[in-house]
Each structure stands twice: as structure tokens, then as C-alpha cells.
Symmetry: C2
Subunit: 285 residues, 2 copies
């Protein structure tokens, strides 16, 4: 096999490229099932593609396997990656596997395509736009607390943390509808303030509109705390009020629930239920 992959590129498509790493002890605990790590390595990168409205073209993987890991662990890691790649029909284009010293460090580049000029970005939000988010918020954060032994086990929440889903279909369908888009990885509140800030604007959030699962509602945590947890990998986007029905129809078509949780306002920063709020003040971890 050659060291490099060669791909045809159709006329009129732009190339989208993103790179994210996962490190043992930082992004996953040593006892995390390796197949789940492999899955997540793929999905966090596909989620970055989804946020641009890109269709995945392929990935290149770099697996640095820690000294304490045997071939079985590496095989499970690759199995989890393969499951995610198969689930989303994305080819593995290349990469390498090395021994990386004491801890495992995993890197992935995801390549995608988007019709020229149609990519979504963080910038582009306009004053008065609606703010939307897909799915439910906080479940993955609760799953992390379960993984750390801080909360009563719940298989569904743990799965939300360990097997996130990239919102690829929604991202593609939002081309030409959303004015700005990003994926929620560092907590809804912090990411919402970043999204508005990227366009030089602020964001006003209605906390009662933040979509929560029944399990999250039963967690005993305040909505703002749930919205400060990370790892949701939902899409957060803005769109003009004029396309509100198009957003809702798109969500139905993609079988991905979306909720309108606020709007883009003038100035900088963020308000929650009308109160100025520092999103970093809600950092849950």
C-alpha cells in the first residue's frame, strides 16, 4: 500500500478538513472500553464535518498505542473505529499505528466535501436570528459522571457519552438555511457564546427551551448546569426567523429533533432568561 491516498475530486465541490485527537487520561479514562474510544475518535471528527454541512469523504487515522496496551486492546480500538466508519459509510483512506510511550494518543483527520460556497461556519449569525440546537443537552455529561463512578449507572446516558452520534444528515440539510453553525463539544452555554461572538454579537437563551431528556430532568441538576456539560456533539445553529418552518421541516426530514432555545442579540456576551451571564461561570467540570 502506498503511504498516501489519491482521491478523485468532482468539479464544484470544496474540500473540508478537520483534525481532532483523543488522549488517554485527558479525553478518556484508562478503563474506557477501547471500542468506544475508537467510535468516539471517528465521531468527534465527523461531528466537526457535520457542523460545516460537509459530506464525509474519508478519514486518516493515527493510533499511538500506549505501552501497557496489548494487541487485543488495539484490535478493539480498530473495531470501534470500523463500526463508526461503517455506520456512516466513510472509508478509511490511510494512517499509521505506532507505539506511543506510556499513554495512548489517537489522532484522526476527517475529509469531507461541500458544494462551493455552501459550507456552514461559525460566522454569519445576524441580529434577530433564532438560535437552535439539535437533540437533547447534558446526557453525555451525565454519562461522563457515570463513567467516573460519580452517578448511578444508566446505560442510555453512558452510551450518549461513549457513543455520540454526528449530526451529518442535519448538517447537510441545513446548508442554505442556517446562517451559522457549530457542534456542541464544550457545553451548550460556552459554545453558544462563542457562536454569537464569532459574528460580533451576543446570544439570549431561554433556559426553559433547552431540550432535556427525561433522564436529565430526573438528574437533579439545574438546566444551566446541564447546559455547561460537554460532549453533546449536537448541532447549534442560527437561522433567520423567516426560515423557521424550513428548519422544522428539515428536522422532521432528518429525523433529528431541534429546539429553538433563544436568539441572536446585539452587544457581546450572553443572557439567560434575560440575566447577563458569564458562560464560563457555569463550567460544570
Amino acid at each position: 500500500m502506498d503511504d498516501a491516498a489519491v482521491l478523485d475530486w468532482p468539479l464544484g465541490l470544496q474540500l473540508v478538513a478537520t483534525h481532532d485527537m483523543l488522549a488517554e487520561g485527558i479525553h478518556f479514562t484508562p478503563d474506557c472500553p477501547p471500542a468506544d474510544i475508537g467510535w468516539k475518535l471517528v465521531v468527534v471528527n465527523l461531528s466537526d464535518l457535520a457542523a460545516t454541512g460537509a459530506k464525509p469523504v474519508g478519514v486518516l487515522m493515527g493510533a499511538g498505542i500506549g505501552a501497557g496496551r496489548d494487541a487485543g486492546w488495539a484490535k478493539e480500538l480498530v473495531r470501534g473505529m470500523a463500526q463508526a466508519l461503517e455506520r456512516y459509510a466513510v472509508p478509511l483512506l490511510g494512517g499509521d499505528t505506532i507505539r506511543s510511550g506510556p499513554a495512548s494518543v489517537l489522532a484522526l483527520t476527517a475529509l469531507g466535501s461541500v458544494p462551493a460556497g455552501r459550507a456552514l461556519s461559525r460566522t454569519g449569525a445576524r441580529l434577530g436570528d433564532d438560535l437552535w440546537v439539535s437533540g437533547t443537552i447534558g446526557d453525555a455529561g451525565l454519562g461522563l459522571e457515570i463513567a467516573l463512578g460519580k452517578r448511578t449507572p444508566d446505560a442510555a446516558l453512558l452510551k450518549r457519552y461513549r457513543r455520540p452520534q454526528p449530526r451529518l444528515a442535519l448538517g447537510i440539510a441545513l446548508r442554505g438555511i442556517a446562517s451559522a453553525c457549530m457542534d456542541v463539544s464544550d457545553g451548550l452555554l460556552l459554545d453558544a457564546s462563542r457562536l454569537a461572538g464569532a459574528s460580533g454579537l451576543s446570544v439570549a437563551i431561554d433556559s426553559s427551551a433547552i431540550p432535556l431528556s427525561a433522564a436529565a430532568r430526573a438528574s437533579g441538576l439545574a438546566t444551566a448546569s446541564l447546559a455547561a456539560m460537554g460532549d453533546d456533539y449536537e448541532l447549534l445553529f442560527t437561522a433567520s426567523c423567516a426560515v423557521r418552518s424550513a428548519v422544522l421541516a428539515t428536522a422532521v426530514e432528518c429525523r433529528t429533533p431541534v429546539a429553538r432555545i433563544g436568539s441572536v442579540a446585539s452587544g457581546m456576551g450572553m443572557t439567560i432568561d434575560g440575566v447577563e451571564t458569564d458562560p464560563t461561570g457555569y463550567q460544570h467540570r
Copy 2:
């Protein structure tokens, strides 16, 4: 900044993608100057592009910084990367920097372009083709021995190891001339046997034709030992005897010396000066 980079892609070009990692303790020693590590991370990937005849389009970097490294170390690493990217006029498209546990692990994806159907690959060597290699062989391996304190210091040899040069101009110029091409990273002999093997053929090498620097000749090592050392990052390629003058003219044009070191033969494996040889038997390290 968005998590993903979006690039225009001109009609008629294919996308070339490659990914290589460098790990502390495996690919570089803990005392290696971080700027040299950054340089090498870029160049080993650009060398993979060179081997396909691709023109670099950009890179995505993932730097996992070991726990014992301070901000100054990371800054030097990035400075070395930036030097290489500037030297070869390649933009940084994205990436991330994380803390990676005890040891540093560095990942890079390089993207390149090549006119459709013109990419060089390892396969394509034909019976009777000449075998060529660029530059000189073994200098980087001697540089490694110097870095390890096993050999008398020599700044030029150490630089060949720590600051390799990707043969980008030669790779591009060999499109349509070379029948097969790869870069030499694991030792000339082993890589030559792989190149021929990829086309189901063998290779006959004339050891007296292997290009050596004056420093390598003075090293006291046999040519076959030098040709078993790694990290040369020279281009190894085959071409029909009919284009011998075109190869030589191309080399002059690119200011990159090339040497005709043998030919592609029938069967499998390798002969050196007519004697069947197992290239792995010459593993220097």
C-alpha cells in the same frame, strides 16, 4: 476559528492525503531539540506527498504535548513546524494541541494535489526498468548514531537526520517519467525490495552505484550497511531505460542529484551485485 477548514478544489486535480506520527521515545529522543521535531513532523509527511508527485495543499497538525514539557518546548516545536511550512510554502489548515500524558505524540495529515491520473505510486515498475535514487544514502542514519552518542559529532550528518528535505520538486517533475516511486524511510535496501515487490517483481542493485557522501564513505561502514539505515527521505523510483536522458535532465532542472543504482528484474526478492540477498538481513538497527 471554525473546527474545519474549507478549501476550493480546482477541476481536474486529484486529492492526495497522507498521515504520519512521531512519538517521543520511538521516533525522537527526549533530548531532541523541539524545533527539529516540528520540522521533521512536517517533512516526513511532505515526503510522502513527494513520492506521489503531489504538490502540497496544506497540513492539519495534532500535537499531543507530554506532561513534562513546558510552554517553551511547545513553542519551539511549533516554530520548527512553521519553518518547514514556510520553507515549502505549505499552509497550516487546522489541528489541535492537547496534553497527551507522559510522552509527546505528534500527528500530521498532509494534503496535496495531482492532475487526475498522474499520481505516482509504488506499483507500476516494469521488467527491465532502471532503478534510481535521489541524493545520498546513509547520512541520516549516521546522524542518528551521532544523536545517540554512538559516533563522533558531525553537524552536517546530524542535520541530515534532524532536518530532512522532502524531494517535492523532483516528485512533481517525475510525473509521466517514473513508472513507480516511493520515499526511502526504512532503509534503501528494504524499501527497494518493497518497491519491486509491489509490482510483483524483484530488484537487482549495483552497490557501487549507491550514492554516498564523502562523510558516509569516511564512516567505515560498508555500503550495504549504509543502505540499510533509515530516515533518508530520498525518492526511490523506477523508469524505463527509454527515458534515461529525461530522468537526468529532470534531476538537473530540480537541482537534485539522482543515481541509477540497479534495475527491475523478474522473480521476487533482491540481488546485490548479483548475489541473492535478504534486505532485512542488513537491518542496521
